[in-house]
Symmetry: none
Subunit: 130 residues, 4 copies
DNA sequence: GTGGTCTAGACCACG
DNA sequence: GTGGTCTAGACCACC
């Protein structure tokens, strides 16, 4: 499970953590019944404050994606995969829609927008391979 | 010149105003030497506090897009079109990159991402035509 | 009498006009009893609003540098030369003091400050010749 | 780190704060990675409204001199020293140029100008030593 | 606790 | 009328 956060991003860190757990469940990396890394471990790995991770975990349980097992950690629920796949799609679609909506209001020619998308798509995929 | 802001957006209002003026100059809607709508007028139109618009205008002059003419208003500079076209591209590219980056980390299959982009592109174009 | 104003300067236009008249009297360009160019003429020459020139002229009469002759214009008073020479010195000294004071608080090495002064002195003199 | 502002100055308070932080970084008083005093602390020390200090801090992050760490404060960036040294030079040079430019248009003999500069330089250095 | 944004209304200088 | 600055105090997200 590759976790990393960008502290300088406008997206809050706890949301980045939240989204990444959701994405991990949606893709099957985290299986039902499996334990999510502990707050302390994850905080250490991401070099962020434990409170921040705890915040994300609280949201996870609110969403029904994971339940906390006293003394053991957070366990992925049975409903999680369906929930997370739906949510993943929503998140990604919303972000893309937002970006393209702004591109439209900028009156940047459609050709230029499409070119930018292709460039960034290649860039992102290239990075993923590297 | 259609200006509108979304108070609920995570993007600050003053940045939305800033971006829209930049877009207007980049697209030629606002010409060199022309006066930008006054703080008070724009504030009334957008139903936000004049200070918020003033904040955006101050940034405009810092960026060299407009100069304030005492007692007259803000005038679009000669360098503005070039500056704004470059900046518009940066803004749009940054948003697209952000969205696609998240899509990539979601491990959503590349095909699905591309399909989402095409859907949203069609939506936006359809709206523009309609 | 070379008059020019910099609209983008932080120094108000009316103060620039005021200072230049004072400097002209101090240097003898404008003699006692001579008529100062009219508000309209000066406004046209400087491409500024007549009100702005009028503002400067009002200050001139308040300072005792010139008196308005109904239907004729502003006339340089007998006390003007002495007043203006003193004031010129005050203005220039104050500005230089201010600039060097800031240089000191910046902790820029004294050598660098002196070098900057020399560079700018050469620059200004060079321009004056050109 | 001695901070002080002059409310009566034509230079806005937030710009004075901005310049002083830049000077502190340029001179090495504020080191890379170090935390800048908090908005509220600095506001109390300078006896100005926190918003005014916040305004200056926002500019700092826009300039890339410091990054805001959510809930922790503003941290001096790695690029800050170079940025600030360059900017310090610009600020000081601009003020000196402005002063000498006015001195030149005053037609005060070059000798007198140079004498004024030397007097003020001596004053400032004397103070620094004393 | 931290910084960031917004509303509100004051005052100023300039034209 | 214009833009610019400041104070004041609210609310928010984050740590």
């Amino acid at each position: 499970m590759l976790f990393d956060v960008q502290p300088s991003s406008p997206i809050p860190i706890y949301e980045q953590v939240l989204a990444q757990v959701i994405f991990a469940v949606a893709s099957g990396e985290l299986q039902v019944g499996e334990m999510i890394p502990s707050v302390r471990e994850l905080a250490a790995r991401l070099m962020v404050h434990p409170n921040t991770v705890a915040h994300a975990f609280k949201r996870l349980s609110e969403l029904g994606v994971a339940v906390s097992r006293h003394g053991k950690g957070m366990e992925v629920t049975a409903e999680a995969p369906a929930l997370c796949r739906a949510r993943r799609q929503d998140i990604v679609r919303a972000r893309i829609r937002e970006a393209l909506r702004e591109a439209a209001t900028s009156q940047l020619p459609a050709e230029d927008v499409r070119r930018l998308v292709e460039e960034e798509l290649a860039r992102v995929n290239g990075k993923a391979k590297g």
